[in-house]
Symmetry: D2
């Protein structure tokens, strides 16, 4: 399958023990134009990657190496950096300086300014020069920049589910920018693979709970990016919930429509659906659907389903309710990264996805 | 255990095959002052109740009978009517006329007016005289009326999770009444025990989805009851979600605070928490907590946990976010019914719960 | 509820942060003749128990104390010792010497001999004098001894599900003692509440796996206890499985019938069912049922459901297949402990269960 | 993506509303050499396939047609027949006679003889001439016959998990053929997509139960196929269990080793592992692993993981315990069907999988 090695994009996995790293490896197993050539880990150096992730047994023979930018740059064309926030920026810098293109899964280069980053992440940024100067890896809006980027900031999972439906509607002036609520429900994989009480099976199973109300770091990321795309300041109140499922994010979004004369529930709904359909006509992963999306409809895929409803009585339209479903590990992380890689290397963005 | 039969409240179960009926039977197994004496079912007449619900095997020897109001009234002191909306009202009427007190699990007597009922339930009400004249079975607000009632309208599951935190805050004028969003997440048991595609394991598992956005019948029930308790017209936008768990409702509620001079995030939050604590001081099932409630914290109990958060920067309070967790089958249905029964028969409301 | 304090059994909880401790506390909340008076914890001293277990919020006001046998003996009538294997024996000894009766949840006093214990648990036993001299807390077989015991060894979860159906059949000579396979499936709570990779939600969810095949410590416990009850040496091959659910153990047990002349599938099956029914006639928690038990039928209860099938063609009976379902946290741990406590203090064994 | 239509294998889906049909459609979405051209359904004729399966929204534009063999044969190269047992044989016959190659998901052509089929399936076989004359679609054993077949009997899900580890060991004479127990645990999708009480979320969730003990139709299928492959009569006792997860089968298999002089636990284990490794050396979907497989390791893939353990003390080997994990919808149904199709059309068997 991989006889023609010279034509394959060689991928390095930096920080290989978590769920997003496994998802990258999994997708690459059936990617016809890219292959995993290196994987690094501080904690499990020397072990086969398939020992950390038994689903790869017999399917992937990469062994874990220490992090060495030079070796990585020699043996890979792109590095997928799956390190935690804060720790990531340094590795991204070292990799970029070693001459390899990087897709950074952390939040370290997503936000527009150093003060905003340092306020929300509570650390001094190790490479402040590049902050505000790294493309946000959402090809639906920044495809051209991604194609030429040396570093790509892979989007956050919750922000993806909110920015994709909201940015086009705010930009088109169809909803009020200053009164938006994003009520999101995420599968447990979003909390990572480090053992913690709250993500034990018997704590998370058969239970749903909100957390980090109005204080989650993905709130400012939503605001920052919608502002960047729509050129309008927005105010987003964001509430994440831990939901008893492995994967998936469902965001239920409440906004106020900008009304026109004689608007009805139906006319508002049609106008917003039309705007979304128009925005995503040529974007094969985004589906503006009539039904109410469930996370199961997009699980294990890079696809997005979204729809719009409008409350109120017939000729008194009330609020706009948008529902958007993604897979948090795929379009919310590793699938988006592969899509970005495809765009960076000039191949069909759907390859392997 | 039941030697002193003359002191026991005798309970009839009307419509015995669903989850709320099982939950009533389960609670009665360890209720020291009430016992199940009759259970009816149209579809499974003659069978032991424990054949329909194998968890009762060896623990309950009641057999299913046809519905006969006279027999029921002779052999029971109270009827728990677990029939579907529409069908229930007729049976409630026949039972009440036969002289037995009734707790109705359906929505047939919850709303204040016949037009409101007929608009939302799409049927002609079979006993319109009693509509608006039946107490709503929430002892925390209507205890005295329940104590003397012949018929009690047992509250809806979603409404319980919204009315309990909202009504006291609206009544006290602490939040705006006209801009409330209730985003609720329910376990699958809320959808009943009749086989349907949407509640099959492989459809509901590993998935979350919204349904009936801005069109669910529990929205008007919330509005109607908060109005009845707080004497103010409220506007509630209600979105229910099907969540992959057996039991539980988590409602995340968004409202605007009524601000006072020099209010801060902290002062608003404290005022609302104090109001809720004050309201529920003497109500043993309701807990105003500092932590963020999870449905697991109240699963299999009649207890309620609620808390308040306020968004915004320190001296610019934004929105109020209330989180309320109940068990949909217990405080949202059968537990509340037992609590109502306890109040109706003058015993400690916590008995058996 | 607790006005008549002098009549209540006062319970101390030793090691309060795990799931079995929570289950004891939960059951005691509605136990009319016992109450929690003390709870100890090394790691969370000073905190309210309800902070460790938020489901107790507003329902239990005990604070965590350090372990002091004298204080415990003064303030409680019985100690429920929920410490890990090895660590438990020492505390049990100190408590017993301080004069308080103890129910030990660990395996430290379950086995008959010190060598057997030390072989399987790999530690030197701190109180070897009592090994083989502590009653096994299964009131269905050892009720009289339990009633008078100062220390009770609460049974293991898997052993309970195997011993209860097997011991009577082996004792009556109805199955071969030397060829028994116990294939058990347990909910994840059996693995405890300490954060570990294998019990993270995203590892255990949507997956089933065997572990510790033919090497789990509960295998020798099954053999030892069946031998003690049936007075026959048995050979049990035991395979536990981690199953994606909170609670419950289902044991599917394979054995060979001792055949009689003209035996048929039907005659063998009837004989074994009759033996089990006869054994458990007066034991209210054990139900010999015709249907195939599911763990859900006994979840959140101290009840046991078991049944027998026989393979083969009509007049050529093959193997006996026994299915037994319990709740691992209740009859497999805390429910059994409460049942033992009830027996020790001479009250109805079903009280609170 | 599909410009070069002439090179694509055109696939017809017969009976499109169930989970196996969806799984075929899903796999074909990313199969580079095959495409779905027709889908039939009696119940939903005219609707888009993506309305029945919302995960296909925007990704598949096939509409459901009535079943017409001639049209199907003109527009497809192979028919995947996902109809129920009994109903399938007739359609398979009509399709085969119309000249299209067929992969039959039902059990109608799996067994060797008409009497065996009619005994276990309770219906008169509509095309008895072909029974015993259709290749069993397990390319690991019957690859050459599959390559030339007009009709392929796609294997049952449970049998796949048992035959793959057992057949090579029986054939090599390494285990006793007359004393095999297969204790299998399956995800709920194996029970199909027709609404039934037992597969409702709230019945199957948080519960595990055995069913059809010693009477499931897949027992004789295991015996028949192992006999066909190993040329030895085997006796299999089969117990299936419904497990709370969407997908996956774990079979825990108990057998007796054929011992050699001086055998130890270790030597028996090594010999059996070596035999399995040798058998599957060139079969890329089968992995003989050292770790204990979990169903999650193979979920959403066509891969198989298996391992061997041996009970007993060092120099007294006891029983052989084999654990085998597959995805019931993939290698247990639709993945195997795609693998068979790949073999039938002479392309790499891993294509699209």
């Amino acid at each position: 399958m991989q006889e023609n090695l010279s034509n394959m994009i060689r991928v390095a996995l930096i920080g290989s023990t978590g769920y997003t790293a496994l998802e990258v490896a999994r997708i690459l197993l059936s990617h016809e134009k890219a292959e995993l050539t290196i994987a690094t880990s501080r904690s499990d150096e020397g072990k086969p990657l398939s020992e950390i992730h038994p689903s790869l047994a017999g399917r992937c023979d990469v062994a874990l190496q220490p992090f060495d930018p030079k070796t990585i740059a020699e043996n890979a064309d792109v590095a997928m950096c799956c390190l935690p926030h804060g720790a990531s920026a340094e590795s991204v810098r070292d990799l970029a300086l070693a001459g390899i293109r990087v897709i950074d899964f952390s939040a370290d280069f997503r936000l527009s300014s150093v003060p905003l980053y340092e306020k929300w992440y509570g650390v001094t940024h190790p490479w402040p020069d590049r902050v505000g100067n790294v493309v946000y890896g959402m090809p639906e809006f920044f495809g051209d920049e991604i194609a030429n980027a040396d570093v790509v900031a892979n989007p956050g999972c919750y922000p993806t589910s909110a920015i994709m439906p909201l940015a086009p509607l705010v930009k088109a002036g169809l909803i009020e920018a200053d009164d938006i609520i994003v009520d999101s429900k995420s599968g447990v994989s979003g909390a990572g693979r480090s053992p913690k009480l709250g993500t034990l099976y018997c704590e998370a199973n058969e239970s749903i709970a909100a957390y980090a109300i109005a204080s989650h770091r993905h709130g400012p990321e939503m605001q920052d990016l919608i502002h960047r795309i729509a050129d309008k300041t927005v105010n987003v109140l964001f509430t994440p919930h831990l939901t008893p499922m492995d994967r998936g994010i469902l965001s239920t979004i409440y906004a106020r429509p900008v009304l026109q004369d004689n608007d009805t529930v139906e006319s508002v709904s049609s106008r917003l659906m039309a705007q979304l359909r128009d925005t995503y006509r040529d974007h094969p992963f985004v589906h503006v659907v009539d039904h109410l999306p469930a996370t199961k409809h997009v699980a294990m895929t890079n696809h997005v389903q979204m729809t719009v409803r409008v409350s109120g009585n017939e000729d008194q339209p009330g609020r706009v309710i948008i529902v958007c479903a993604i897979d948090n590990l795929s379009k919310g992380a590793s699938g988006a990264a592969i899509q970005n890689m495809n765009v960076m290397f000039g191949i069909d963005q759907m390859t392997g996805l």
